[in-house]
Amino acid sequence: MNPTERTLTITDALGNIHTVRIASAEVMEGFGEALAAQCKGGELIALKGDLGAGKTTLTKGIARGLGIAEDITSPTFVLMKVYAGNKKRGDSAPLSLCHIDAYRLSTWHDLEAIGADEYIGHPDTVTVIEWPEQAGVLEHCAPAWSIAIV
């Protein structure tokens, strides 16, 4: 990230708002890792921010926190990527990561068409959705955390 400083405004499911300052891409990944540590499965994390804000960097950290070793690559082209949970992590239920880019979607029906509704809210999955405002996501489900990056 460049310049590296970001401000995250985090709204949790109860409507509490926190602000976090992030100094570098490494710290952003570390924050994602800490967020993942709080996940029990079924969480939806909504990420808002312009191109280049660091949404993918944050998602890489969340994946690392879930013990997923695979590279997290941009879901822009295929819209949704699913990464299997790491069974070696020793948890009773490893959590998979579903990473969605809703930028080109316009309705909730579009998310159903790509099969995203099978992952969102599923107890074995943590779902990260970029551009949640595009596909009526917020009308259909309540994110565990809604994060705006500026």
């Binding site: 280049g52 993918t56 690559t73 822009t76 295929v78 699913v82 080109r104 979607l105 068409a113 790509i114």
Partner: protein, 334 residues
């Protein structure tokens, strides 16, 4: 042997008929119905609309493609791509295979891009190396023998074509971004704006283009207003990294042929940089760029890849697979 191939992994509906006689390819039909102008108004491919347009175009193209001798095989792209688009093509191919009583051959889209090099009779010596670069993919693939693929380098974030699209968006240029950026780049000075070469020094063949997009976004207002210079400098950074990593892969794999594929290989700056570097550093290694019509998505390349699968006796049972939007070329289809 005659192969009818269907390709609908993204926004082009394509059908081709390829006949092969004594190993010689004759492309009898090569039909493409592009959706680019429709999706341009949305700034990118809209999955629901793409699937609907495939459904509308397929019967028309199939009618034209089937106006001739009966094919012996039906090939179809089964991944990677947009799930809604892939499913439309696979359903049509399954129906056709069943009604004509001919085998169905699922093909990996990336294997298709590699095989686009076979369509023009290029002599490929193995081990070979392929650089596949497009809106959705950036991969260096080692090919020790026909049909055996090992991904030795890939992007860790955005595909290079995607970076072009996103930079175009940041600069306010039209969709699709690749052609728009390279057109502006022709009038700009590639050395005038300093941009990073992400991962160029890393000790592997992986790529990263996300940070380059971010660097463009955070240029000063004055610099960003010189759109032609930004485009030229950005394109130069992308090409530098692609050339450098490909040369590293050539050295580590000992490849005897270099192949290119995917929409970004239509880029003129990329072609001339590789031509210059290869003739200077690797004059003994032949390298092939597909013709422009085979760089972008087409069904002829899917038919060419299917021919390899058929001759290797590697057609999976029709009941064993379904379209897979994340199908990696080095994994079996399930």
């Amino acid at each position: 042997m005659r192969i009818l191939a269907i390709e609908t992994s993204c926004d082009e509906t394509a059908i081709a008929v390829l006949s092969i006689e004594d190993g010689i390819f004759t492309l009898e039909k090569n039909l493409v119905s592009s959706q680019i102008s429709t999706h341009a108004q949305y700034g990118g491919v809209v999955p629901e609309i793409a699937a609907r347009m495939h459904t509308e175009s397929l019967p028309l193209l199939l009618k034209e493609a089937l106006d001739g001798p009966r094919p012996d095989y039906c090939a179809v792209t089964a991944g990677p791509g947009l799930i809604t688009s892939l499913t439309t093509g696979v359903n049509a191919a399954r129906a056709l295979s069943y009604s004509l009583g001919i085998p169905l051959v699922p093909v990996n889209h990336i294997e298709g891009h590699v095989a686009s090099n076979l369509l023009e009779g290029n002599a490929i010596e193995y081990p070979a190396l392929a650089l596949i670069v497009s809106g959705g993919h950036t991969e260096l693939i080692s090919i020790p023998e026909p049909g055996h693929y090992i991904i030795i380098g890939k992007t860790r974030d955005d595909a290079v074509g995607e970076a072009f699209d996103k930079v175009a968006k940041i600069l306010g240029l039209p969709y699709p971004g690749g052609p728009a950026v390279s057109k502006c780049a022709e009038m700009g000075d590639a050395k005038s704006i300093s941009l990073p070469r992400p991962m160029i020094e890393s000790n592997d063949c992986d790529f990263s283009f996300s940070g380059l997009k971010t660097a463009v976004r955070y240029l000063s207002e004055e610099e960003r207003s010189r759109v032609d210079d930004v485009c030229a400098s950005f394109q130069d950074a992308c090409v530098d990294v692609l050339v450098s990593k490909t040369l590293r892969a050539l050295r580590t794999t000992g490849a005897r042929t270099l192949l290119f594929g995917g929409g970004v290989t239509a880029n003129r700056a990329l072609r001339s940089a590789f031509t210059e570097t290869m003739s200077r550093d690797f004059p003994m290694i032949p390298f092939y760029f597909p013709s422009l019509s085979y760089c972008t998505d087409n069904a002829a390349m899917i038919a060419a890849a299917a021919y390899g699968i058929i001759t290797r006796g590697a057609i999976p049972p029709a009941s064993s697979w379904k379209p897979n939007p994340q199908w990696h070329i080095d994994e079996p289809l399930v």
